[in-house]
């Protein structure tokens, strides 16, 4: 009998073009996603006078620089942003790649667009010049982020040189409580294993709590693998995955679907497969989480208080925590629910899919935003779906802003920003210093918790807010 293999090993082996004696491996890339920030990769390709080897496998959608208050490129006021979006269209045309421009009705954040159009599928390798590419692993793919030189390399060769990462399994068993989402799961994991806990690893998330998540929740978990230092995150495909993929624009149809499905069912890790590193997290114990510092590992349940760095035994962590608190303007011992927010952002490739908006709307319904709140759907498709369900109305009735899809305040490159000293509750993935604007203070939360902070004006335990409503 063949030795038991992890899903990661199966995915890796299926994409090996050649392996050198030193272990360096040339991997084939099945799908390459690009966005408006991939321009440096295109420039490199042009400088080298090369072509895109497989335009049919290359897909682009503008997201980072796209202002969320316009519907077309022509309306963009800022010359630089407009030029960047025009450049992407021009590059797409020149190299013949798929392009979902603002007039396509399909544009949005690359990591939202890929799965919803069926570009992302189980069993594939996928790269994108963006660190949150691990998102796509939620479908049972090997997906990872790359830099601009690597983007140019994939354009020209459809391959990448890689050293095989180690395999890690994070098992979350149990039943998630009311008001606890995929975001709380991944924040709890990072809080436990640290921001470097998965460095050098491809991470498989397993266990009953993970299997119980819908596809949106799974994507949220895989999305933030990079925040634990992981190269890639993945979840074994199952009926939830197959139902999600079936019928999507670029997904296989008819006989090809049947063949694909038969293959996808062989992907999950074999019983007894060995992982280099294992971690377990108790799913029953996870509460809604809020970050308090400038690394995603600085996280506590909303019921707790800002920790005291003096209690941290690891001197490196202690020092970093002190710096974090200073930047965040917080005192040890402050209950998280006493912290007032200035702005709320519901969006990003972590939490801007339809399920995220549904849960946020449930909390917002019949309440009033106490602070400026931006709701930015992840794609045009999500936006249409939400509008068909009347979610946009729920948000605007609550005094929140309903915007056009893009990265928006996740990275603040499109003009949606925090002012110096302003504090946000944000459903994005990074609370780094200045991430949402110079001097901005970011607290990461799930979509229900973001809506709860918006209608309360401070962090609030969404479970209390929604008591009796479920």
């Amino acid at each position: 009998m063949a030795p038991a293999k992890t899903m990661f090993a199966k995915l890796w082996d299926a994409h090996v073009v050649l392996e050198r004696d030193d272990g360096q491996t040339l991997l084939y890339i099945d799908r390459h996603l690009c966005h408006d920030g991939s321009r440096q990769g295109f420039s490199k390709l042009k400088d080298q006078g090369r072509k895109v080897r497989r335009p049919d496998l290359t897909f682009a959608s503008p997201d980072h620089y796209r202002p969320t208050d316009v519907k077309s490129v022509a309306e963009i006021q800022d010359d630089k942003m407009r030029a960047i979006l025009e450049e992407l269209s021009a590059n797409a045309e020149r190299f013949g790649i798929h392009h979902f421009g603002l007039d396509s009705g399909m544009d949005g954040i690359a990591h939202v667009v890929g799965p919803e159009l069926g570009i992302t599928l189980p069993g594939i390798s996928l790269v994108c010049g963006d660190s949150h590419t691990a998102t796509h692993g939620a479908l049972g793919a090997f997906a990872f982020g790359i830099g601009a030189s690597e983007v140019a390399h994939v354009f020209a060769t459809q391959t990448l040189w890689q050293k095989k990462p180690k395999a890690m399994r994070v098992t979350v068993d149990g039943k998630l409580g009311f008001g606890v989402s995929g975001k709380d799961v991944i924040l709890a994991i990072i809080g436990q294993i640290s921001a470097a806990g998965a460095t050098g690893h491809a991470v498989e998330y397993a266990g009953s709590a993970i299997r119980g998540l819908d596809m949106e929740g799974r994507m949220t978990v895989c999305n933030m693998t990079i925040e634990a230092g992981g190269r890639a995150g993945m979840i074994a495909p199952d009926e939830t995955t197959f139902d999600y993929c079936n019928g999507r624009m670029f997904a296989p149809k008819g006989e090809k679907w049947d063949k694909a499905l038969a293959y996808w069912q062989t992907l999950p890790s074999d019983d007894g497969a060995e992982f280099d590193t294992e971690a377990t997290v108790d799913g029953n114990a996870i509460a809604p989480m809020v970050t308090w510092g400038t690394s995603p590992e600085n996280v506590v349940p909303v019921t707790e208080a800002v920790p005291d760095p003096a209690n941290e035994p690891d001197p490196v962590r202690r020092k970093t925590q002190e710096g974090s608190l200073d930047y965040m303007g917080l005192k040890p011992g402050t209950p998280m629910t006493d912290i007032a927010v200035d702005k709320v952002f519901i969006g990003s490739c972590t939490n801007a899919r339809i399920e995220d908006l549904r849960i946020a709307a449930k909390v917002a319904k019949g309440r009033r935003a106490q602070v400026r709140t931006l709701v930015v759907p992840g794609s045009q498709q999500v936006k249409r779906e939400a509008e068909a369900e009347g979610l946009d109305k729920v948000f605007t009735d609550a005094g929140m802003e309903w915007r056009e899809p893009g990265c928006s305040m996740c990275v603040g490159m499109n003009g949606d920003l925090l002012e110096p000293g302003e504090r946000s509750a944000s459903t994005s993935n990074r609370n780094f210093m200045g991430r949402q604007g110079e001097g901005g203070r970011t607290h990461l939360v799930g979509p229900a918790m973001a809506a709860a902070a918006s209608v309360s004006g401070h962090f609030a335990d969404v479970r209390q807010l929604m008591e009796g409503s479920n």
């Binding site: 050198r20 360096q24 599928l121 063949k259 970093t320």
Partner: protein, 203 residues
Amino acid sequence: MDAFTKWTAKAAPIDAANVDTDQIIPAPFLSRIRTEGYEGLLFYRVRRKADGEMDPDFILNRDDFKDAGILVADRNFGCGSSRENAAWTLVDNGIRSVIAPSFGDIHYNNEMNNGMVPVMLDAGICADLRRQLHANPGAEITVDLERNVVVAPDGKEHAFTIPAFNRERLLKGLDDVSFTLEQESDIAAYEAKRRDEADWLFE
């Protein structure tokens, strides 16, 4: 890409863990094209105070360290965003090597793709190197890629490893793409096999 054989330079200690690429180069500069250069932008915000003035306490603002060519950092250096601009910013400001217990995976590759040598050494050794640099501001470190050793200010040598594939390319200053294109027959064979066995992947 410039070849890297041996690099001797003043080194600066960066004491914080999890130095992310947003700190190395903040988002507003990412739209700059490569040829514009990134000089003067390294740690743009971190090295300034809230009022925009340079923070005299930030290590790279101090006279002894401002022309450092090597950084000795703590764990998880370059975590976060995939922005290759972070590696460009380091190189354009004279940093050809970063020594740390661990790196963000994407940034690690980005450094090597820009003629830099990221050196992984034990956390204890890194802490000791930082101590030496604090005690002797302006002290030099050598990163010798031919011998795979770091020579510390106290003269001690510390061996390190770097993937052989990247080491070869760094020593010669070669770009991967031309090398990969020489493997064309393997790539074409793989593509043919893929089309055959996994036709569901294609329209």
